[in-house]
Amino acid sequence: MANTESLDNVVLELRRGVIVLAVLSQLNDEQYGYSLLKLLSDQGLEVDQGTLYPLLRRLETQGLLESVWKLEEARPRRYYVISAEGKKLLPKLKKEWAGIVSVMNGMLA
Protein backbone atom coordinates (compact mmCIF):
# COMPACT_ATOMS: atom_id res chain seq x y z
CA MET A 1 0.00 0.00 0.00
CA ALA A 2 2.75 2.41 1.08
CA ASN A 3 4.83 1.35 -1.95
CA THR A 4 1.95 2.08 -4.33
CA GLU A 5 1.49 5.50 -2.76
CA SER A 6 5.21 6.25 -3.02
CA LEU A 7 5.22 5.17 -6.65
CA ASP A 8 2.18 7.34 -7.40
CA ASN A 9 3.82 10.35 -5.74
CA VAL A 10 7.09 9.89 -7.62
CA VAL A 11 5.28 9.45 -10.96
CA LEU A 12 3.24 12.57 -10.20
CA GLU A 13 6.41 14.54 -9.50
CA LEU A 14 8.02 13.26 -12.72
CA ARG A 15 5.00 14.28 -14.77
CA ARG A 16 4.68 17.65 -13.08
CA GLY A 17 8.16 18.49 -14.30
CA VAL A 18 7.35 17.87 -17.93
CA ILE A 19 3.84 19.31 -18.16
CA VAL A 20 5.04 22.86 -18.86
CA LEU A 21 7.15 21.63 -21.76
CA ALA A 22 4.32 19.42 -23.05
CA VAL A 23 1.79 22.26 -22.89
CA LEU A 24 4.04 24.82 -24.59
CA SER A 25 4.90 22.32 -27.31
CA GLN A 26 1.23 21.70 -28.11
CA LEU A 27 0.12 25.31 -28.26
CA ASN A 28 1.54 26.42 -31.58
CA ASP A 29 -2.08 26.10 -32.69
CA GLU A 30 -4.61 27.58 -30.35
CA GLN A 31 -6.48 25.20 -28.08
CA TYR A 32 -9.07 25.65 -25.37
CA GLY A 33 -8.47 23.92 -22.05
CA TYR A 34 -10.51 20.79 -22.61
CA SER A 35 -9.28 20.27 -26.18
CA LEU A 36 -5.68 20.60 -24.95
CA LEU A 37 -6.40 18.08 -22.21
CA LYS A 38 -7.65 15.60 -24.81
CA LEU A 39 -4.77 16.38 -27.14
CA LEU A 40 -2.28 15.55 -24.42
CA SER A 41 -4.26 12.47 -23.39
CA ASP A 42 -4.42 11.20 -27.00
CA GLN A 43 -0.63 11.35 -27.09
CA GLY A 44 -0.34 9.41 -23.85
CA LEU A 45 0.11 12.18 -21.29
CA GLU A 46 -2.75 12.15 -18.81
CA VAL A 47 -3.03 15.47 -17.00
CA ASP A 48 -5.50 16.26 -14.29
CA GLN A 49 -7.81 19.25 -14.90
CA GLY A 50 -6.88 20.56 -11.49
CA THR A 51 -3.29 20.75 -12.70
CA LEU A 52 -3.81 21.96 -16.26
CA TYR A 53 -6.13 24.94 -15.82
CA PRO A 54 -4.19 26.68 -13.04
CA LEU A 55 -0.99 25.96 -15.04
CA LEU A 56 -2.43 27.64 -18.12
CA ARG A 57 -3.29 30.71 -16.06
CA ARG A 58 0.18 30.74 -14.51
CA LEU A 59 1.92 30.45 -17.90
CA GLU A 60 -0.24 33.28 -19.20
CA THR A 61 0.67 35.46 -16.20
CA GLN A 62 4.33 34.70 -16.93
CA GLY A 63 3.83 35.88 -20.50
CA LEU A 64 4.53 32.49 -22.09
CA LEU A 65 0.95 32.05 -23.32
CA GLU A 66 -1.75 34.33 -24.66
CA SER A 67 -5.46 33.70 -24.44
CA VAL A 68 -8.62 34.94 -26.04
CA TRP A 69 -12.30 34.22 -25.46
CA LYS A 70 -14.26 33.01 -28.49
CA LEU A 71 -17.91 32.18 -28.84
CA GLU A 72 -18.39 28.75 -30.42
CA GLU A 73 -21.62 26.75 -30.66
CA ALA A 74 -23.24 29.31 -28.33
CA ARG A 75 -20.56 28.53 -25.77
CA PRO A 76 -17.71 30.84 -24.78
CA ARG A 77 -14.32 29.13 -24.87
CA ARG A 78 -10.99 30.44 -23.83
CA TYR A 79 -8.33 29.67 -26.40
CA TYR A 80 -4.68 29.55 -25.50
CA VAL A 81 -1.69 29.91 -27.82
CA ILE A 82 2.03 30.18 -27.24
CA SER A 83 3.27 33.80 -27.07
CA ALA A 84 6.36 35.27 -28.71
CA GLU A 85 8.21 34.96 -25.42
CA GLY A 86 7.05 31.35 -25.08
CA LYS A 87 8.31 30.65 -28.59
CA LYS A 88 11.73 31.96 -27.61
CA LEU A 89 11.80 29.80 -24.52
CA LEU A 90 10.54 26.57 -26.08
CA PRO A 91 13.71 25.63 -28.04
CA LYS A 92 15.80 26.16 -24.90
CA LEU A 93 13.46 23.96 -22.90
CA LYS A 94 13.58 21.30 -25.62
CA LYS A 95 17.39 21.37 -25.52
CA GLU A 96 17.34 21.02 -21.74
CA TRP A 97 14.91 18.14 -22.03
CA ALA A 98 17.07 16.38 -24.63
CA GLY A 99 20.05 16.77 -22.29
CA ILE A 100 18.11 15.32 -19.35
CA VAL A 101 16.85 12.39 -21.44
CA SER A 102 20.37 11.68 -22.68
CA VAL A 103 21.84 11.79 -19.18
CA MET A 104 19.08 9.65 -17.72
CA ASN A 105 19.27 7.12 -20.53
CA GLY A 106 22.98 6.82 -19.82
CA MET A 107 22.33 6.34 -16.12
CA LEU A 108 19.55 3.86 -16.55
CA ALA A 109 21.18 1.82 -19.31
Binding site: G33, Y34, S35, G50, Y53, P54, P76, R77, R78
Partner: protein
Protein backbone atom coordinates in the same frame (compact mmCIF):
# COMPACT_ATOMS: atom_id res chain seq x y z
CA UNK B 1 -30.42 27.17 -10.99
CA UNK B 2 -28.95 24.08 -12.67
CA UNK B 3 -26.68 21.76 -10.71
CA UNK B 4 -23.70 22.75 -12.83
CA UNK B 5 -24.36 26.46 -12.15
CA UNK B 6 -24.62 25.81 -8.42
CA UNK B 7 -21.32 23.92 -8.62
CA UNK B 8 -19.57 26.75 -10.47
CA UNK B 9 -20.89 29.33 -8.00
CA UNK B 10 -19.64 27.19 -5.12
CA UNK B 11 -16.17 26.93 -6.68
CA UNK B 12 -16.20 30.72 -7.18
CA UNK B 13 -17.03 31.27 -3.52
CA UNK B 14 -13.98 29.24 -2.52
CA UNK B 15 -11.54 30.90 -4.89
CA UNK B 16 -8.84 32.74 -2.97
CA UNK B 17 -8.73 35.95 -5.01
CA UNK B 18 -11.42 38.16 -6.45
CA UNK B 19 -9.28 39.00 -9.48
CA UNK B 20 -9.91 36.57 -12.30
CA UNK B 21 -12.75 34.86 -10.47
CA UNK B 22 -15.30 35.53 -13.20
CA UNK B 23 -12.86 34.24 -15.81
CA UNK B 24 -12.21 31.04 -13.90
CA UNK B 25 -15.94 30.43 -13.39
CA UNK B 26 -16.64 31.00 -17.09
CA UNK B 27 -13.86 28.64 -18.16
CA UNK B 28 -14.94 25.99 -15.66
CA UNK B 29 -18.54 26.10 -16.89
CA UNK B 30 -17.35 25.81 -20.48
CA UNK B 31 -15.10 22.85 -19.62
CA UNK B 32 -17.88 21.05 -17.76
CA UNK B 33 -20.24 21.53 -20.69
CA UNK B 34 -17.58 20.04 -23.02
CA UNK B 35 -17.16 17.10 -20.68
CA UNK B 36 -20.93 16.47 -20.60
CA UNK B 37 -21.07 16.55 -24.38
CA UNK B 38 -18.21 14.07 -24.57
CA UNK B 39 -19.83 11.78 -22.05
CA UNK B 40 -23.18 11.84 -23.87
CA UNK B 41 -21.60 10.97 -27.19
CA UNK B 42 -19.33 8.30 -25.66
CA UNK B 43 -22.05 6.51 -23.66
CA UNK B 44 -25.13 7.23 -25.73
CA UNK B 45 -26.93 8.21 -22.56
CA UNK B 46 -29.23 11.17 -22.21
CA UNK B 47 -27.90 14.00 -20.12
CA UNK B 48 -29.77 14.02 -16.82
CA UNK B 49 -29.14 14.98 -13.21
CA UNK B 50 -27.68 11.56 -12.41
CA UNK B 51 -25.03 12.06 -15.07
CA UNK B 52 -24.30 15.57 -13.80
CA UNK B 53 -23.88 14.27 -10.26
CA UNK B 54 -21.59 11.50 -11.49
CA UNK B 55 -19.42 13.88 -13.53
CA UNK B 56 -19.21 16.59 -10.88
CA UNK B 57 -18.21 13.97 -8.33
CA UNK B 58 -15.39 12.90 -10.65
CA UNK B 59 -14.32 16.52 -11.13
CA UNK B 60 -13.95 17.00 -7.39
CA UNK B 61 -15.42 19.01 -4.55
CA UNK B 62 -15.71 22.78 -5.15
CA UNK B 63 -13.24 23.40 -2.33
CA UNK B 64 -10.67 21.08 -3.88
CA UNK B 65 -11.09 22.59 -7.36
CA UNK B 66 -10.88 26.15 -5.99
CA UNK B 67 -7.74 25.23 -4.01
CA UNK B 68 -5.90 24.31 -7.23
CA UNK B 69 -6.11 27.99 -8.26
CA UNK B 70 -4.56 29.18 -5.02
CA UNK B 71 -0.99 30.27 -5.73
CA UNK B 72 -0.31 30.65 -1.99
CA UNK B 73 -1.83 27.67 -0.16
CA UNK B 74 -0.15 28.75 3.05
CA UNK B 75 -0.29 31.72 5.37
CA UNK B 76 3.46 32.36 5.21
CA UNK B 77 5.29 30.51 2.47
CA UNK B 78 8.75 28.98 2.36
CA UNK B 79 10.17 32.11 0.69
CA UNK B 80 9.50 34.30 3.73
CA UNK B 81 9.42 31.73 6.52
CA UNK B 82 13.12 31.93 7.55
CA UNK B 83 12.92 35.73 7.74
CA UNK B 84 9.59 35.46 9.60
CA UNK B 85 11.19 33.22 12.24
CA UNK B 86 14.14 35.59 12.56
CA UNK B 87 11.88 38.62 13.16
CA UNK B 88 9.50 36.68 15.42
CA UNK B 89 12.29 35.60 17.77
CA UNK B 90 13.54 39.19 18.14
CA UNK B 91 10.07 40.68 18.63
CA UNK B 92 8.91 38.09 21.19
CA UNK B 93 12.16 38.33 23.16
CA UNK B 94 12.05 42.13 23.29
CA UNK B 95 8.35 42.23 24.20
CA UNK B 96 8.67 39.65 26.99
CA UNK B 97 11.78 41.33 28.44
CA UNK B 98 10.17 44.76 28.37
CA UNK B 99 6.97 43.54 30.05
CA UNK B 100 8.87 41.57 32.70
CA UNK B 101 11.21 44.53 33.22
CA UNK B 102 8.25 46.85 33.77
CA UNK B 103 6.73 44.38 36.27
CA UNK B 104 10.09 44.12 38.06
CA UNK B 105 10.39 47.89 38.17
CA UNK B 106 6.92 48.20 39.67
CA UNK B 107 7.71 45.52 42.24
CA UNK B 108 10.82 47.43 43.30
CA UNK B 109 9.36 50.96 43.28
CA UNK B 110 5.96 50.19 44.82
CA UNK B 111 7.41 49.49 48.25
CA UNK B 112 6.49 48.62 50.82
CA UNK B 113 4.06 46.21 49.29
CA UNK B 114 0.79 45.48 50.91
CA UNK B 115 -0.02 41.81 51.24
CA UNK B 116 -1.45 40.61 47.96
CA UNK B 117 0.06 43.55 46.02
CA UNK B 118 3.30 41.65 45.57
CA UNK B 119 1.47 38.61 44.19
CA UNK B 120 -0.67 40.86 42.01
CA UNK B 121 2.32 42.70 40.54
CA UNK B 122 4.34 39.56 39.81
CA UNK B 123 1.32 37.57 38.58
CA UNK B 124 0.05 40.54 36.59
CA UNK B 125 3.49 41.09 35.08
CA UNK B 126 3.73 37.45 33.96
CA UNK B 127 0.18 37.59 32.59
CA UNK B 128 0.93 40.82 30.72
CA UNK B 129 4.12 39.33 29.29
CA UNK B 130 2.22 36.27 28.00
CA UNK B 131 -0.60 38.44 26.57
CA UNK B 132 1.88 40.81 24.94
CA UNK B 133 3.84 37.88 23.47
CA UNK B 134 0.66 36.39 21.99
CA UNK B 135 -0.39 39.79 20.61
CA UNK B 136 3.10 40.33 19.15
CA UNK B 137 3.01 36.86 17.58
CA UNK B 138 -0.38 37.64 16.00
CA UNK B 139 0.83 40.98 14.64
CA UNK B 140 4.02 39.53 13.17
CA UNK B 141 2.04 36.71 11.53
CA UNK B 142 -0.44 39.25 10.14
CA UNK B 143 2.31 41.47 8.70
CA UNK B 144 4.09 38.53 7.08
CA UNK B 145 0.84 37.05 5.74
CA UNK B 146 0.21 40.39 4.00
CA UNK B 147 3.83 40.59 2.76
CA UNK B 148 3.51 37.05 1.39
CA UNK B 149 0.64 38.21 -0.79
CA UNK B 150 1.81 41.64 -1.91
CA UNK B 151 5.59 41.34 -2.29
CA UNK B 152 6.75 40.29 -5.74
CA UNK B 153 9.03 37.26 -5.96
CA UNK B 154 12.12 39.31 -6.84
CA UNK B 155 11.68 41.44 -3.69
CA UNK B 156 11.39 38.35 -1.51
CA UNK B 157 14.51 36.93 -3.14
CA UNK B 158 16.49 39.65 -1.34
CA UNK B 159 15.73 38.11 2.05
CA UNK B 160 17.21 34.77 1.06
CA UNK B 161 19.99 36.09 -1.13
CA UNK B 162 22.57 33.39 -1.63
CA UNK B 163 24.93 35.40 -3.82
CA UNK B 164 26.72 37.03 -0.91
CA UNK B 165 26.96 33.87 1.12
CA UNK B 166 30.52 32.72 1.71
CA UNK B 167 31.25 29.13 2.81
CA UNK B 168 34.27 30.50 4.67
CA UNK B 169 31.82 32.14 7.07
CA UNK B 170 30.94 28.69 8.43
CA UNK B 171 32.28 28.33 11.93
CA UNK B 172 34.49 25.37 12.69
CA UNK B 173 32.97 22.56 14.71
CA UNK B 174 33.53 23.68 18.30
CA UNK B 175 35.68 21.59 20.59
CA UNK B 176 33.25 20.20 23.20
CA UNK B 177 35.86 20.93 25.87
CA UNK B 178 36.22 24.60 24.99
CA UNK B 179 34.70 26.75 27.73
CA UNK B 180 31.88 28.97 26.54
CA UNK B 181 32.99 32.20 28.21
CA UNK B 182 29.67 33.98 27.72
CA UNK B 183 27.76 31.26 29.57
CA UNK B 184 30.31 31.21 32.37
CA UNK B 185 30.23 35.00 32.83
CA UNK B 186 26.40 34.99 32.93
CA UNK B 187 26.53 32.16 35.48
CA UNK B 188 29.00 34.06 37.67
CA UNK B 189 26.91 37.25 37.55
CA UNK B 190 23.70 35.45 38.49
CA UNK B 191 25.40 33.43 41.22
CA UNK B 192 26.75 36.66 42.71
CA UNK B 193 23.28 38.21 42.57
CA UNK B 194 21.92 35.10 44.30
CA UNK B 195 24.61 35.31 46.99
CA UNK B 196 23.93 39.02 47.55
CA UNK B 197 20.17 38.52 47.87
CA UNK B 198 20.58 35.52 50.15
CA UNK B 199 23.06 37.17 52.51
CA UNK B 200 22.29 40.90 52.39
CA UNK B 201 18.64 41.33 51.47
CA UNK B 202 17.06 38.07 52.51
CA UNK B 203 15.11 39.66 55.38
CA UNK B 204 13.19 42.06 53.10
CA UNK B 205 11.42 39.18 51.33
CA UNK B 206 8.04 38.80 52.89
CA UNK B 207 4.65 40.42 53.15
CA UNK B 208 4.21 43.92 54.58
CA UNK B 209 0.91 44.96 56.11
CA UNK B 210 -0.08 48.41 57.28
CA UNK B 211 -2.80 48.90 59.79
CA UNK B 212 -3.85 52.32 61.07
CA UNK B 213 -0.79 52.79 63.26
CA UNK B 214 1.40 49.78 62.77
CA UNK B 215 3.50 47.99 60.16
CA UNK B 216 3.48 44.20 60.20
CA UNK B 217 6.02 42.06 58.40
CA UNK B 218 5.88 38.35 57.82
CA UNK B 219 8.94 36.74 56.16
CA UNK B 220 8.38 34.31 53.30
CA UNK B 221 10.57 31.69 54.96
CA UNK B 222 10.60 30.64 58.59
CA UNK B 223 13.72 30.35 60.77
CA UNK B 224 13.97 26.71 59.74
CA UNK B 225 15.21 27.89 56.35
CA UNK B 226 18.15 29.77 57.88
CA UNK B 227 20.03 26.56 58.64
CA UNK B 228 20.26 25.91 54.89
CA UNK B 229 21.82 29.28 54.03
CA UNK B 230 25.45 28.25 54.80
CA UNK B 231 25.04 25.21 52.57
CA UNK B 232 23.53 27.26 49.74
CA UNK B 233 26.39 29.75 50.14
CA UNK B 234 28.92 26.90 49.99
CA UNK B 235 27.46 25.59 46.75
CA UNK B 236 27.26 29.08 45.23
CA UNK B 237 30.86 29.80 46.20
CA UNK B 238 32.06 26.46 44.82
CA UNK B 239 30.25 27.32 41.58
CA UNK B 240 31.96 30.73 41.39
CA UNK B 241 35.40 29.28 42.16
CA UNK B 242 34.95 26.65 39.44
CA UNK B 243 33.68 29.26 36.97
CA UNK B 244 36.61 31.59 37.61
CA UNK B 245 39.01 28.66 37.22
CA UNK B 246 37.32 27.76 33.92
CA UNK B 247 37.51 31.35 32.70
CA UNK B 248 41.24 31.41 33.39
CA UNK B 249 41.98 28.04 31.76
CA UNK B 250 39.34 28.20 28.99
CA UNK B 251 39.19 24.41 28.73
CA UNK B 252 37.29 21.66 30.50
CA UNK B 253 39.44 18.94 32.04
CA UNK B 254 38.35 15.67 33.71
CA UNK B 255 39.01 17.37 37.07
CA UNK B 256 36.75 20.36 36.37
CA UNK B 257 34.11 18.06 34.86
CA UNK B 258 34.08 15.96 38.05
CA UNK B 259 33.90 19.13 40.17
CA UNK B 260 30.92 20.31 38.11
CA UNK B 261 29.15 16.95 38.58
CA UNK B 262 29.66 17.15 42.35
CA UNK B 263 28.39 20.74 42.56
CA UNK B 264 25.27 19.96 40.51
CA UNK B 265 24.58 16.79 42.53
CA UNK B 266 25.05 18.72 45.80
CA UNK B 267 22.59 21.33 44.52
CA UNK B 268 19.97 18.67 43.84
CA UNK B 269 20.43 17.09 47.26
CA UNK B 270 20.16 20.47 48.98
CA UNK B 271 17.05 21.50 47.02
CA UNK B 272 15.47 18.17 47.84
CA UNK B 273 16.27 18.61 51.54
CA UNK B 274 14.75 22.12 51.53
CA UNK B 275 11.65 20.78 49.78
CA UNK B 276 11.19 17.91 52.22
CA UNK B 277 11.82 19.96 55.38
CA UNK B 278 8.56 20.76 57.18
CA UNK B 279 7.57 24.24 58.45
CA UNK B 280 9.92 26.06 56.10
CA UNK B 281 7.36 28.56 54.81
CA UNK B 282 6.83 31.64 56.96
CA UNK B 283 3.25 32.24 55.83
CA UNK B 284 1.41 30.18 58.43
CA UNK B 285 -1.84 30.63 60.30
CA UNK B 286 0.15 31.48 63.47
CA UNK B 287 2.19 34.22 61.79
CA UNK B 288 -0.95 35.86 60.47
CA UNK B 289 -2.74 35.63 63.80
CA UNK B 290 -1.55 39.03 65.07
CA UNK B 291 -2.59 40.96 61.98
CA UNK B 292 -6.01 42.58 61.88
CA UNK B 293 -8.23 40.52 59.61
CA UNK B 294 -9.41 43.42 57.52
CA UNK B 295 -5.92 44.26 56.21
CA UNK B 296 -4.91 40.92 54.80
CA UNK B 297 -6.24 38.04 52.82
CA UNK B 298 -4.12 35.59 54.81
CA UNK B 299 -5.77 32.48 53.47
CA UNK B 300 -5.05 33.42 49.84
CA UNK B 301 -1.43 34.31 50.56
CA UNK B 302 -0.88 31.05 52.41
CA UNK B 303 -2.51 29.04 49.64
CA UNK B 304 -0.48 30.77 46.92
CA UNK B 305 2.89 30.35 48.63
CA UNK B 306 2.31 26.89 50.02
CA UNK B 307 1.34 25.77 46.54
CA UNK B 308 3.92 27.66 44.53
CA UNK B 309 6.87 26.80 46.79
CA UNK B 310 6.95 23.01 46.15
CA UNK B 311 6.21 23.58 42.45
CA UNK B 312 9.13 26.04 42.21
CA UNK B 313 11.43 23.64 44.06
CA UNK B 314 10.45 20.75 41.79
CA UNK B 315 11.13 22.92 38.72
CA UNK B 316 14.54 23.83 40.20
CA UNK B 317 15.28 20.12 40.80
CA UNK B 318 14.35 19.33 37.18
CA UNK B 319 16.61 22.12 35.89
CA UNK B 320 19.41 20.94 38.17
CA UNK B 321 18.81 17.38 36.94
CA UNK B 322 19.27 18.53 33.35
CA UNK B 323 22.44 20.39 34.33
CA UNK B 324 23.72 17.30 36.14
CA UNK B 325 23.00 15.13 33.09
CA UNK B 326 24.88 17.65 30.91
CA UNK B 327 27.79 17.64 33.37
CA UNK B 328 27.96 13.81 33.39
CA UNK B 329 27.74 13.72 29.59
CA UNK B 330 30.55 16.30 29.42
CA UNK B 331 32.64 14.23 31.79
CA UNK B 332 32.05 11.15 29.67
CA UNK B 333 33.04 12.97 26.47
CA UNK B 334 36.16 14.52 28.03
CA UNK B 335 37.26 11.17 29.48
CA UNK B 336 36.56 9.35 26.20
CA UNK B 337 38.53 12.00 24.26
CA UNK B 338 41.46 11.73 26.69
CA UNK B 339 41.72 8.01 25.95
Amino acid sequence: MKLIDRYVVEVGKNLPLLRGREDIEKELRSTLEDMFEDRVSATGRVRDEAMEIELLKEYGSPQKVAATYNPHPYLIGPRLFPFFLFVLKIVITVVVFVMLGLAGLRAVTDTPMMGMDFVNIIGGGLGNAVSAAIAAFGNVVLVFAILERVLPDKEIGGFNDEKDWDPASLTKEPDPDTVKRGEIIVEIVFTFIGLAILNLYFEIFGAYFFTEDKLFFIPIFSDVFLKFIPWINAIFLAEIVLDVYLLRNAIWTPFTRIAKVFIEAAGIVLTFLILSTPNIIGFTAESFANIPESSVDAQTLMTVFNLSFPITMIIIIIIQGVELAKAIYGLFKTTYKAK
